[in-house]
């Protein structure tokens, strides 16, 4: 049951929140409405998407999971799992809202009841303490885009099936290891809900290999692959996404914080994808 909550003026001046994408801040406010008097709510991204962003066709549940994970990293939310079901706890809700926890028992399990044997939807906050995103005091000069970790981390966020998003170790691993085409493709497949069709894997591999051979930084390719994965567009658009991330202007970075895909890009990608399908169909018929 949704509840009325109030937004204090301090919310807009909160520097921790300022580092989050705009959609994540809006989602955070939405979660207040969904949370019960114990600051708990159901945590399945599909449920949250339906409640907070029901009319946003450009934001699938996987995108909501990306935003949820960003809130976890910012220590605004804790995701946990009890008996196979996902829940969210908002640790700061009681500081800013008048909660009457003593009057109404929660229908949802407490974070302390989280199953120790089942992995949390995302690593706990302690695990994130070692993730690069947590160290805001020492920004890496090579990283001009403050939210890149968030975007990349959520790469796998669409994985409802195995439901074990990347660990902090996996996140820190990203830029330290030499990335081969195979490794990058492996990471991508690992984070897909279901294994993509062979031709799609083939096309993505081809694009990644070409970029690596061209001398593009594998870290850029990896970030591009993650962003492309979230967008769900045709593999032929992958180099454009990598380029967008590599050469983004500050304005473009801001725009990316709340992505609204161009209708023209969608139409063109649809046409190219239709061409690929028809080509494959006719080739299959003649083979």
């Amino acid at each position: 049951m949704a509840r009325i909550r109030s937004v204090k003026p301090e919310f807009w001046a909160d520097e921790d929140l300022a580092d989050l994408p705009r959609d994540a801040r809006l989602l955070y406010i939405g979660l207040w409405n969904l949370a019960d008097e114990h600051a708990r709510l159901r945590g399945d991204p599909r449920y949250v998407k339906g409640q907070v962003f029901p009319y946003d066709d450009d934001l699938p549940p996987a995108g909501v999971e990306v935003l949820l994970n960003a809130l976890v990293v910012a220590k605004k939310a804790v995701r946990y799992r009890v008996a196979g079901k996902q829940y969210i706890f908002l640790p700061n809700l009681g500081k800013h809202q008048r909660l009457e926890a003593e009057k109404v028992p929660s229908r949802l399990p407490a974070p302390e009841d989280a199953d120790p044997d089942e992995p949390a939807p995302v690593p706990g906050l302690d695990a994130y303490a070692s993730a690069p995103r947590a160290d805001k005091s020492a920004p890496d000069p090579d990283r001009s885009e403050p939210h890149e970790e968030d975007h990349a981390l959520l790469y796998g966020s669409g994985s409802m099936e195995h439901e074990v998003p990347p660990t902090a170790a996996a996140l820190t691993r990203r830029d330290d290891e030499p990335a081969t085409t195979q490794a990058l493709i492996g990471e991508w497949i690992e984070h897909c809900r279901k294994r993509p069709p062979g031709p799609v894997i083939g096309q993505v591999s081809k694009q990644v290999k070409a970029m690596i051979e061209e001398g593009i930084d594998p870290a850029d390719v990896r970030r591009g692959l993650a962003a492309w994965h979230v967008k769900g567009i045709h593999p032929s658009a992958l180099p454009s996404v990598v380029n967008e991330l590599m050469n983004a202007s500050p304005t473009a970075a801001l725009a990316r914080a709340s992505p609204r895909p161009s209708t023209t890009d969608l139409r063109v990608n649809q046409a190219i994808a239709a061409g690929e399908r028809v080509q494959a169909m006719l080739e299959g018929r003649t083979a």
Partner: protein
């Protein structure tokens, strides 16, 4: 002209007029354009919208 070429021609048109292009469109236009040079078709799209 391949189906991919036909799709590129339609994609160029879609970039201008925002039409939606599906498999049936590609198949139909592929048959219509089959004997034409892909670049000629792309140029024709440009001329069509430039008029």
């Amino acid at each position: 002209m391949t189906p991919n070429d036909a799709a590129r021609v339609l994609a160029k048109a879609a970039a201008v007029d925002q039409r939606t292009v599906g498999d049936a469109d590609v198949l139909a236009w592929y048959e219509i354009l089959a004997d034409l040079d892909p670049q000629d078709c792309l140029d024709a799209v440009k001329l069509h919208y430039a008029e």
